[in-house]
Symmetry: C2
Amino acid sequence: MSTKSEIIRLGDAFIKEKGFNGFSFSDISKKLGIKNASIHYYFPTKSDLGVAIINDELDRLHNAINEVNDKDPDEQLRKFLSIYISIKDQNNICIVGSLASDLSTLDEYMAAHLKILVTTILNWVTAILQNGLNKGTFKFEIAPRTKALLIITNMLASLQLTRLTAPEDFETIHNTILKELKP
Amino acid sequence: MSTKSEIIRLGDAFIKEKGFNGFSFSDISKKLGIKNASIHYYFPTKSDLGVAIINDELDRLHNAINEVNDKDPDEQLRKFLSIYISIKDQNNICIVGSLASDLSTLDEYMAAHLKILVTTILNWVTAILQNGLNKGTFKFEIAPRTKALLIITNMLASLQLTRLTAPEDFETIHNTILKELKP
DNA sequence: ATTTGCCTATCTACCAGAAGGTAGGTAATT
DNA sequence: AATTACCTACCTTCTGGTAGATAGGCAAAT
């Protein structure tokens, strides 16, 4: 892997572990065995790195969306939920939750790209739910967009919260979401 | 108000606005017109301040719990939800969500006190829901503790997320939670 | 075939400011 | 006399960031 993509990968991991204000260029350069200045060569400012990390996440999200594009809504939703499961397995939190928490410390560029990421997720889940409702795969009484917001907030905050409650709570929430959608 | 409680009040506000790693002693001292060293007089370390802020939140939570202790479950739940509404009105996020996001950068003392705060909230909401279920005020099919987790995660993450989606989303989520509990 | 020159990816060395924190002093209050 | 609530002055480490050097690779011009 190239140095540039290694920097993005490590920055992404640090945001999920410690938050955007919780890591420094030194944290990355020490792990890679390079100097701080080499990171500035690829990313002039920390915000430039932040934007690159968000765009990288957006790329992977688009890949995930395309991967299950022609599958049924149940499988699509499971694909969505599996993203959070793998974050939980690493004892991290989701990048959206991490950056949204620090929103007022981010500059306009990072905020704008974060907004695109959030909108993409929300639109994807809304479409999955709408589709599942039409096909009879899912059953719920509220607007698909609202249901999407409820499910996304459940997953996002359960990553943050269940590190402080019982270890099995995350899985309980995950299973309950699927169960409650069943017709 | 005493300087000490002003420091706690400002620290609390900064955590909700910028996160624990997003503010410094200078941010507080400048706002209060005192010197950094004066904050260290009351709180030797930043973690000491963090613990005091969490304990202060816990005090206010206990007050809120006692305030509606003999009211019906519907009013108790509205009291709980009103806490998030007033945070939203200030365009901030909840302190639990903020600190839980930065969990791995907090020391053991802050983490332990944060855990107490989370547990207190979860137990309170679980009790409200259990009570409402017994009395027929609420209707839901899952375990009260699980339902509490779902509602808390909805509120917590919607504060973070809805700053990036549509402005009315927060209120929609709030109203949906109440509506779905109706028998 | 060799020189010239530019591009890439790193380095060394440095900077100003902010971070959290400490030591010791002082003036007013109890 | 002791305590409280500040202050000045200072320290160390870390922060994001900059300037300029270097060494290798490629590629066109001589």
